[in-house]
């Protein structure tokens, strides 16, 4: 049993959001060492360790295609060390088959002036357990996380993001967009923690969830912790069905309700796919969406 997605501060036990237990026993992982722009294809099942080191002032892109086999488990732990002024775009896309599930852990430490852009796409059918912890240690280090997910069938999505602002003038932005339909069960936990000494820092978290069925469960726990005076933190969530104004507008352009919803869902993913600039990912994500919507 793996314990993961632990909230940095516990809350009411009845909500069952304080931690997640996943039935899985990891074994010794196969390790990848990465320091340059690369594309990794992690297939089948098993345990993988991906160590990304970005040297001072280096700028790299790493694409990870996670393609778990039908009914298997792919367990990936990515550890990132960012040198001074280094920049990383990390794209993680779940391309699992059938009910193959993905356990994805990201641990990242950023040095002075480093920046990380993390793009996560979870359009596939299998369960997702996603645990990201980022330490903004160096001053002026920055983080931009954007995740999009599709929850359909009886998919379980359990996501936890913890951003620790430690250095001065650090910035973070977490954005999560998703769709829940059928009997999907989603938990999104996002924590921005301003530690003492992180003066001048800013953190923001935005969540948008489109709910399309009455059998779904949507849990959201957006946390801000703060022991520093000179910071700005904000979080916002908008959860619900397609709002009437959007629907009215799209209908007035000649679309019916189903087409309008499809357009909104594609739009949610397209914004992110444009950021990846990877045609293979785009076409495969569209394949998953066509199947799900």
């Amino acid at each position: 049993m793996m314990k993961m997605n632990v909230l940095p501060v516990r809350t009411f036990n009845r909500l069952k959001v304080n931690e997640t237990f996943v039935e899985y026993e990891p074994s010794a992982p196969k390790i990848y060492e990465i320091s340059e722009t690369s594309k990794l294809e992690l297939k089948e099942t098993g345990d993988f360790g991906v160590n990304i080191k970005v040297a001072e002032d280096n700028n790299i892109t790493v694409v990870m295609l996670c393609e778990c086999s039908e009914a298997g488990t792919l367990n990936i732990k990515t550890e990132i060390a960012m040198g001074k002024g280094a920049s990383l775009k990390l794209i993680q896309a779940d391309m699992g088959k059938g009910s193959g599930r993905l356990i994805n852990t990201v641990r990242c430490t950023e040095n002075k002036d480093a920046s990380v852009q993390l793009i996560q796409l979870f359009p596939a059918r299998g369960d997702i357990y996603n645990d990201c912890n980022i330490e903004l240690t160096g001053s002026r280090s920055g983080l931009d996380i954007h995740v999009a997910y599709m929850g359909n069938g009886d998919k379980k999505l359990d996501m936890n993001y913890v951003v620790n602002h430690i250095g001065k003038n650090t910035t973070s932005y977490i954005r999560a967009d998703g769709v829940l339909k059928d009997k999907a069960f989603k938990t999104f936990k996002g924590t921005i923690d301003f530690k003492t000494g992180s003066s001048g820092s800013k953190g923001e978290e935005r969540e948008k969830v489109l709910l399309l069925s009455d059998d779904i469960v949507n849990q959201s726990v957006p946390i801000i912790l703060c022991t520093e005076e000179d910071v700005e933190g904000a979080h916002g969530a908008a959860i619900g069905n397609l709002d009437e104004d959007t629907l009215f507008y799209l209908k007035s352009r000649g679309l019916d309700e189903d087409e309008a919803k499809r357009l909104v869902i594609y739009g949610m993913f397209n914004r992110l796919l444009e950021k990846t600039g990877d045609e293979e990912i785009s076409s495969r994500v569209e394949g998953f969406l066509a199947e799900a919507v």
Binding site: F194, D214, I216, Q219, P222, C226, T227, E228, N241
Partner: protein, 469 residues
Amino acid sequence: MEENKTYVQDIDRSLYDFRNEDADAYRFEDGLTEEIVLQLSEEKNDPDWMRELRLRSLKLYNEINVPDWGPSIEGLDIDHIATYVRKNTKMADNWDAVPEEIKDTFEKLGIPQAERKSLAGVGAQYDSELVYHNVRDDVAKQGVIYSDIESALRGEYAQLIRDKFMHLIPPDDHKFAALHGAVWSGGSFVYVPKGVKVDIPLQSYFRLNAKGAGQFEHTLIIVEEGADLHFIEGCSAPKYNVANLHAGCVELYVGKNARLRYSTIENWSKNMYNLNSKRAIVEEGGRIEWVSGSFGSHISYLYPMSILKGDDSQMEFTGISFAGTDQNLDTGAKVVYIGRNTSSYMNTKSISKGGGVCTFRSSVVVNRSAENSRTSVSCESLMLDDISRSDTIPAMDIRTSKADVGHEAQIGKISDEAVFYLMSRGMSEEDARALIVSGFADNVSKELPLEYAIEMNNLIRLEMKGSIG
């Protein structure tokens, strides 16, 4: 040039921090045992069902763990808490019959004066027992019952109380609900009959004078169909160097198309562990409004819960907390949606200074049956220095697609731009900062009755000192 910090003065507690000698008080031994519970039950002349509830609660108390979330309550040792303290006096319905010392206490707190001016009825509890209870004749004539809960247990409404008492907050809900069930004493019963609108508020005031004691009052309010009530609860205590405990319980039943506003100004002393439970159930078209000011206590756990059972029922929660040195105030609200077309609005503000900790904690649960429900949560926190702490821990659990959920939270300091703007309009920096902090608390203070709003403004009176570097 060194820039002076802007200081926001601690809450002036001299108004509340006076104490009376306990010389003639009847006081149980410290601790919690079956003997003590039975002794209390006998003292109260409980009906059998109540004695059984107390014993069952005690068993649960011993079985349930302390919460593994929230502020530490390690400094609280129930073996050093007296669960029952009573002055040698009987409850009176006119202040002249209240012993001088106790009357003087409530005079200092302004209760009889407020009663004369702006209240329809008052209950005053001193340690474990009510010492005064009175309701205006014209209100009583409307059929409104406002009495101590022990008398009501044996009167006309005995069966009603039995049907409702600790049904909303059962003793197995959490450890301190169980504690309350075992040793509750005092508190008020309010019954507002169908269609009766009580124009001016009722107020209960709870004063814990005894050192190392607990207060466990129970408030039960039933507002029948179409009725309307504003109930105010105030509490304070002098400061001691040992822990005091407050584990009260408030159960509110809001009938069809009824409205209840429940306002609380909590100003316990800084040695108080305030582990209080409040819950309301709202029927079709009914409305519960909570106004909650948390200024006192060493540790506070307080999350009034609303169950929106009936279709079209509504909840509004307006809260402010101010945590200074030695204070850890963990407050917020919970709401459970069951009925259709239900809605809730939570609006909270918190201010932390001098090493104080403010936590906003909430839970919004929208069940599948709650079609077309709306929820909106807005919380803002202000940090006045870098030795304090301010946390926001909301949680939402949504189980229908036909819900509209919005959540916004912000944390920050006094905006330099806003100060600059106000200064450009001719204001001094001191005045500008004072105005911003007052403005921050304004939409909460305007929800309070006037005299409480003035009190709150006094409580967070600002002493501004600063210069531009």
